[in-house]
């Protein structure tokens, strides 16, 4: 019984020390908050795991439309991607921008296939489906403290799905194909933008 009491006492003392220590560290201002100093590995892992688990749980119930390969979706989504996303997530033929160099964490280069920018989802239908749901959720809701905004205000689900449809094809596009697909041109009204 006394061994159990000692164990509980130790546990409480450890918890109090951790709380007080954590509080002191929090208020000391010692943690580097600048985007030019990377997180330490533990913090990075904690934040990344928190983000990925949260997005995966929240996106799991999303229903993917069956017509994601429709040409009109590519045209509508391409024009929006070019206007809203290409500055951070790049376009074919571009490898960096002020945003990719300056944001931390750096926005993923979406002209690369999933496994090349850190998400292994190519070649596996189930994983591809998860990746599609994940993209939709992230575009719609954004990600806290990452530079990724929520596009839900002012953009309905159909418009966001159009962007997801375009993202699916983006890693395969040449600069010429990208230009043709993303130009709003004169006929964009007819594309249902």
């Amino acid at each position: 019984m006394s061994a159990l009491t000692t164990f509980i006492k130790s546990l409480v003392i450890t918890a109090v020390i951790a709380l007080v220590g954590g509080g002191l560290f929090l208020y000391s201002g010692l943690y580097p908050m600048g985007a030019d100093v990377p997180h330490n590995r533990l913090t990075y892992w904690l934040l990344e795991t928190l983000r990925e688990r949260s997005v995966a749980r929240a996106a799991s119930d999303i229903k993917v439309p069956s017509d994601l390969n429709a040409p009109l979706r590519l045209l509508a989504g391409g024009a929006d991607y070019n206007d809203m996303c290409a500055g951070c997530h790049l376009k074919p033929g571009k490898t960096e921008s002020d945003f990719t160099l300056g944001l931390y964490p750096a926005p993923p280069n979406l002209t690369l296939a999933g496994d090349e920018h850190g998400h292994e989802h190519t070649g596996d239908t189930e994983n591809d489906d998860e990746a599609i749901k994940r993209q939709f959720w992230i575009i719609k809701h954004g990600i806290k403290a990452s530079g990724m905004p929520t596009w839900a205000p002012g953009h309905d689900d159909e418009r966001i799905w159009n962007m997801v449809a375009f993202l699916k094809q983006l890693p395969e596009l040449s600069p010429d194909q990208y230009q043709i697909l993303t130009a709003r041109g004169q006929d964009s009204e007819g594309h249902g933008h």
Binding site: L181, G185, Q186
Partner: protein, 97 residues
Amino acid sequence: MNMKTLATVIVFSTLGIALSAQAHDPKEHMKDAEKPDCAAMKNMDHSKMDMNDPVMQAMMKQCMNDTHHNDSEKDQAQADHQDNEKSSGEQHSEHQH
């Protein structure tokens, strides 16, 4: 809250919702809209083009629209030109009378 205040609140909140729904309207981008460079399609390797590929279908659609637009511009220009010729011809014949 009297009816006047209630009506004002409803009008402003409806206006707010309507304006936020129009946020980032694609028309905002039309001023600087780039035209598709459909001439680049001619330089692409046609043997590797798969007509069932959604990217190819989307490009065809985009460039078909562009071609139609250019055609209609040309037609309009031709029609204008013919109208001008016709009216100058009429003017010319009027001068002859």
